[in-house]
Each structure stands twice: as structure tokens, then as C-alpha cells.
């Protein structure tokens, strides 16, 4: 098993949930936050998940 695949999927799912929350509820704040944390952190996780998936695909291509 190429670990990049499941962890890529995991972070994509996680990123999608958190980003979605940030888009649907842009005013959601904790007492000390001034920005839309969910949106930014979610996008970061989406990007990381996509990066892992891309790496997994490249490795799979090289093998075949």
C-alpha cells in the first residue's frame, strides 16, 4: 500500500469538510479569532491532500 493514497484522501475529505464550513458560515468565530480560520485552514488541508494524491499518482505511473 502506498501510504500517500489514504492520507491524501483523508486530508482531502477533512479539507473539504472544513472549507465547506468556512464557506457556509463565514462569520463563525471563536472568542479570539479575527479571521475565517475554517476557510484558510481547510484550503491548506485540501492543498496538502491534493499534493499527496499527486505524488501517489506519479509513483504509480512510474511503476507501471
Amino acid at each position: 500500500m502506498d501510504l500517500r493514497l489514504p492520507s491524501g484522501v483523508f486530508f482531502t475529505v477533512l479539507g473539504a469538510i472544513v472549507t465547506g464550513l468556512g464557506i457556509l458560515h463565514p462569520d463563525m468565530r471563536a472568542p479570539l479569532t479575527d479571521v475565517n480560520v475554517n476557510l484558510f485552514a481547510g484550503l491548506g488541508m485540501l492543498a496538502f491532500g491534493a499534493f499527496l494524491l499527486l505524488m501517489a499518482r506519479r509513483a504509480a505511473h512510474r511503476k507501471s
Partner: protein
Amino acid sequence: MKLAAVDYVILATYFAFVIGIGWVLRKKVSTSGDFLLSGRSVPLWITSLAFIAANLGAQELIGMAASGAKYGIMTAHFYWVGAIPAMLFMGIFMMPFYYGSKARSVPEYLKMRFDEKTRGFNAFTFAVMTIFSSGISMYALGLLLHLVLNWDFNTSVLASAAIVLAYTYLGGLTSAIYNEVLQFFLIVAGFAPLAILACAKAGGWHGIVSRLPANMTHSWRYMGSASQNPMGVELFGMVAGLGFVLSFGYWCTNFLVVQRAMAADSMSAARRTPLIGTIPKMFLPFVVILPGIAAVALAQMAGAGGAHLYELPLKAGTHVKDYDQVLTTLMARFYPAGMLGVGLTGLMASFMSGMAGNVTAFNTVFTYDIYQSYIHKGAPDSHYLKVGRMTTIVGVALSIGAAYLAQYYNNIMDLLQFVFGFVNAPLFATFLLGMFWKRTTAHGAFSGLVGGTIAASLTWGLTVAEGKGGVFGTLYTFPSVMAQNFWIAIFAFSACFLVTVLVTMMSPPRPEKELEGLVYGLTKIRHDEGAKWYQRPAPLAIGVSAMVILLNIWFA
């Protein structure tokens, strides 16, 4: 702190993934070697991240934020002084013997290099120690979840243990290691935003420096005398005690971490595992310690309405600060639903990676070094695979028992952790002499270990720090428990070293032929000719050292 539905969804997604990884990997297990040693087939980047993740348990995560709030940037010494040099030494100098000897565990290496009694001593103390440390970590997590989320202690302890059991039982060490990498990513994803938000709110590093006492924002400047810095430790105690004895003892001889490097697919990868691990390791302080430091600054800043932005948490019904709650209370102040779920999942992930590390190491040592050596020799491999699987269940059950023991007898656990310190501290002297001085004999090594342990108990019994120790009288009073710990380690190491050398000189040497592959000078170390420079251990180690020195200067 209250969780929303989405936070539970995130937590559930994570649980599904860790168990799913174990489920997929179960097919890879057909021998005891697959289950307990990963069949030595794990890719380098995975072993490197697992190497540091196995050490990044919940206690570490909670404790580092707590120490950040208590001692400031000096806490980073646990990384930059107390981990990186030892990890480099391990990769460059010690891994060739561990991996090359074909030993399946650290105690087994001791058996090959010395004798049965030295192995037995190490295997037994290590097995007991891993059980108690995973139990203590489980207790810490259960307590915290109860405090901040009002979750039931029993449910959270049993549920998290059941999940760890599920994926380690299914896929063995490979599953534990693969999940440790996922957990490592999740810890960073869950806590790096907290560090950034808290630091930005406190006005950046400059804002923090302007609000905190100078000895909390400089890691070296106030090390000259113990009374000047918040840790109460002086330069020599820090560098020799933490930086040399304790850290080399932990990173170079503790099977929990060594096992990750031994699972690598080649000697070259095994040597580079701790070396590459140092790169994320040196930046972890910015994720795990910085929030604690920023918390102290936030506690001095007034917000709207004149109240402080943040109050350092107190123990229930007292005015004593409860630093262990710093991390979770900060999360509640900075994370809305969604990110809160990610942060909490990160905390759970850290707990699981620490516990799985303990359980898999316990497994291997029990099955190979205790069961196969003393209880049932010469059975077919399938028998040991079955024993390995059973030991997983027993190990988890014993950890749960230890967690409840910790809940009922808090002070006993303090004492136990101390006793384990005695056992661990002299160990590095034994390995140093064993690996680099071929004359060292088994009797020398064993008497050295015993001598070192006695020296440690004597130091503890004759000195006092913060009202602890001094059961035999008081010869000296240390400014802090931490200084006392460091000096106990220094005395234990020195005593072990001297006794080993003395007894070795009085006992007959072992024939050199038997020591091939186990000792420096009698082992061919491949120098990876043909490998690119950045794939060789030495240039890697030099690069890492330069980066760590720069970090130390930056925050001096």
C-alpha cells in the same frame, strides 16, 4: 468547551481511516517478522516521520505547551539540545550495529554483544516501563478530556484504547508505523494554525518578547546560573545531563524509537531514518511550544471591556496554575467549530501514536526477548505470530490497568517514573562502551548497569529539590526537580561507565571473532559509494547540525 456535530464527524472520519489502514495492511502479515518487525520493508520517508511521531504522544504535546507557558523558549532545549544531537549520533554511529547485527530488538543486541543476564535486565525493565508510560499517557488524556469536554473518563480511555488495539492487532508494526505518519500530519494540521493564530494575536514574536520577562524569550542567555532562569538549571547540568546522558540514553537505546529505524528497507535507509527525522523535529517547537509561550503574553493583554484576552487556567478550587490545560483552553479561545474538531482529533492522534509505539515495542520485546527466550523456545514461527497478536491484547489491557492505577495512586506514579529514570540513565554508557570498545565484557556491562542504578538511587536519596528526594539525608539541595533529574543522570552515567571499565579489566576478554558485526573496528561499514551526496549520512548530518546551530543562535 462544547463540540458541534461537525467536530464529531471529523473525529469519526479519523477513526475510520486509522482502522481502515489497519484493515488493508492485515493481508501483509503472514509471519511473526511481518507482525513484529514490519518485515524490514517500510519506505524511508515513512520510518523517518514515524521515528519522531512515536515519541510525540499526548503527554508530550500537553507537556510541551505547559512547559512553554512555564519556562518559555528554554523548553526548546528538549528538542535542539535534548534530541537532535542524539538522533544524529544514532544514525551515523549506532545504526550500523543495530541494523547490521540482524538483532530483532535492542535487548537482543545486548544478548549478542554481551550475555543473557544483560539482555534479561534490559528486556524486563523495558517491558514494564512501556506499559506504565502508555498507561500514564492514557490517564493524562482521559483526565484532560474529562476536564475540558466533560467526557466520561472510562469511556474515553476504553474507546481510544480499543481503536489502538484494533489497528495494531490487524496490521502489527506496519499498521502502527503507517498510522503514526498520518497522525503526525494531523498533529501538525491541528496545532500549527493554533501557533500562528496565538502568535499573531500576541503581536508576533516581537510582541511576545516585549511582554514576557527576558529569561523566557532567550534560550541561552540566562543559562549561566540556575537562579537566573525559570528552569533552575545551570549550563553544565543542561548540556551534560539533558543534552548528553538523558537524550542519548533515550534516542539511542530506547527500543520504542529504535524499532522504527530497524523497520527500514535497507541499511542506508535505516541510518538515514533518524537523520531525516531531525528536520521536522527541529521545527516542532514552533508548533508545540510556541502556543504556550504566546499564552503567557495573551494573559497580560487587555481586550474589549478591560478583561484579559486569556487567563492561565487554574486547578479547580485553588490559585495554583494548571499548565497542563494551557493547550486545550487555547484551542477553545481560538478555534471555532470545525477547526476545533481538527485540533481535538490531533490531540487524539498524538495519544494514539504514542500508545501504539509503546504497544508495538512491548510486543516485540515480550515475544522475542522474554517469551521465546525464557518461556517457550524453538516453536514454529506461526506460534510466535499468535503470541505476538495475543501480546497486543495483553499489552493494551495492562496499559488500561496502569491508567487506572495512575488515577488512584498519583504519588506512586511519580515514584515509578523516577525509578524508571534510574534504570534508563546508565544505559547509554553500556552501549557506548559495548559498541566502541571491543574489550568490554559481559560481566563489566552488567555490573556497570547495576552500579549506575545504585548511583542514581543514592543521588536521589541524598539530595533534595522542591521537597522531593532526600530519603537518606540531605547532602545538597537542587534549585529545581529538573536540575536534580539531570544530575542524577550524570552520576548514573559516570558510575556505570567507571564500573564497566573496572570490571572489564578484571574479566577475560571475548574472542574477537564472536564480535564481528557488533563492535566498531570489527564491522565493515559500507560508505555508500555511488550514492548522491545528499543521500549519504555524513553530509546530511552536517547540514542538519548547521540548521540547529542557527536556530539556537537565533533564539539565544
